[in-house]
Symmetry: C2
Subunit: 237 residues, 2 copies
């Protein structure tokens, strides 16, 4: 089994992705919010390419919640932003959510040709790692990055999931970014990597979302693994 | 002063680069070989976009050495490959060298709009850091990467140079990849990052170039800082 981690703006042919299990990670905050929505009983989550597509999808379907942000802030007229704390059981149980975020939902859509597409974060690290290993294909952990840039928070989360994968199976090969992301994770665990100094984390703190940031960096809070299929994300049956 | 590290395939507008000092790094082996050639008395080194351009430049100019590799191997009919050990004083003193390599020379050409373009490696880490800081602009350490992929050897070297910069000046800001590359370098120094497990290093070992790889990862062997200007690289006056 080959394990790759990719950073921002990763593009590969649909043919290549077809043979892979892809775990998309946008730990601050889109994939963490989607995991939390599924954990709290959302029936499905539909990632929209942009806010316009999201709004028109939600209008056509009716009865769903419209969520999303740009530059961290809830979009005007939307029901929810992109904070996991908004996706409570009271709010989302039994609901369909349409969501568009700056980086995460686009990253999911970029990867839709994958043989299997899982939604990963630190919140479900062991569960998503286990599921990916069970599927038996080579694995790509695809980091959403931040506005096309390398984002250390996603690399930390990728390393967190990669380390769980390594503890579950023998790898034939790991790429350089897998090695580096595992180093980032191990350093963070030991306290020698200060995630609070990194760009996107600082931005969230400045916007008043420090509780979100702390929440999203918790490990193994749930066993729920959201799976993308045919345009929608649902918790694994 | 802002310090950025960029990985593979970095592209920015000429206007943006104009205000920056760029240090191009392809530690295994192109920028290390260029540093070594300059240290050993080469008059100038001309980075060619591809082997064809290199061969025709060399033919037009006459009297120069033609160097280059593809997939690590010296190109047929070329005088030299891309091994620092070939660029001895006996071979290169007083000579012009035209060189084309798989990743490094293209990365230099990509950055030619930079206000100042320096050639960096671990061999000249302190000298190149000092020169970049003296120039007073924001700094980009541009890693060549390996065939468009993130390459941990270049990230190690970028971290090595970034750490030297940090010891010389107060930074206003460092990007996430700067933080991660410094972590890679510090981990390597402490023996907790095994560079021999990474992709390009292993490839060089398989090709029989382990001595080159070891040579290029030595720190502060020379004070020579090659500078690119108007299509050619010369040791700083």
């Amino acid at each position: 089994m080959l394990l790759q981690v990719t950073a921002q703006n990763y593009k590969k042919s649909g043919y290549y992705l077809k043979g892979h299990t892809v775990i998309v990670v946008d730990v601050l905050r889109a994939t963490s919010s989607i995991i939390w929505a599924c954990r709290n009983g959302a029936t499905k989550v539909i990632p929209a390419a942009d806010p316009g597509e999201g709004a028109s999808m939600a209008a056509r379907m009716g009865g769903c919640l419209l969520a999303g942000e740009r530059d961290g802030l809830k979009l005007p007229g939307f029901d929810l932003g992109n904070s996991p704390s908004e996706f409570t059981r009271d709010t989302v149980q039994g609901k369909t959510i349409v969501i568009s975020t700056t980086n995460g939902t686009g990253a999911i859509r970029n990867m839709e040709s994958a043989g299997n597409l899982l939604i990963g974060g630190m919140l479900n690290r062991t569960a998503v790692a286990k599921r990916a290993v069970e599927l038996g294909n080579d694995i790509i952990i695809a980091c959403a990055g931040t506005e096309g840039e390398f984002s250390a928070d996603d690399i930390l989360a990728a390393g967190c999931i990669a380390s769980a994968i390594v503890s579950l199976t023998e790898l034939d090969e790991q790429c350089d970014l897998t090695i580096v992301s595992r180093l980032v994770y191990e350093s963070w665990k030991k306290g020698s990597m200060d995630i609070a100094a990194t760009h996107h984390y600082r931005h969230l703190v400045e916007m008043g979302f420090i509780e979100d940031a702390r929440f999203c960096l918790q490990e193994d809070v749930t066993d729920v693994v959201p799976v993308y299929n045919n345009g929608m994300i649902q918790p694994m049956a």
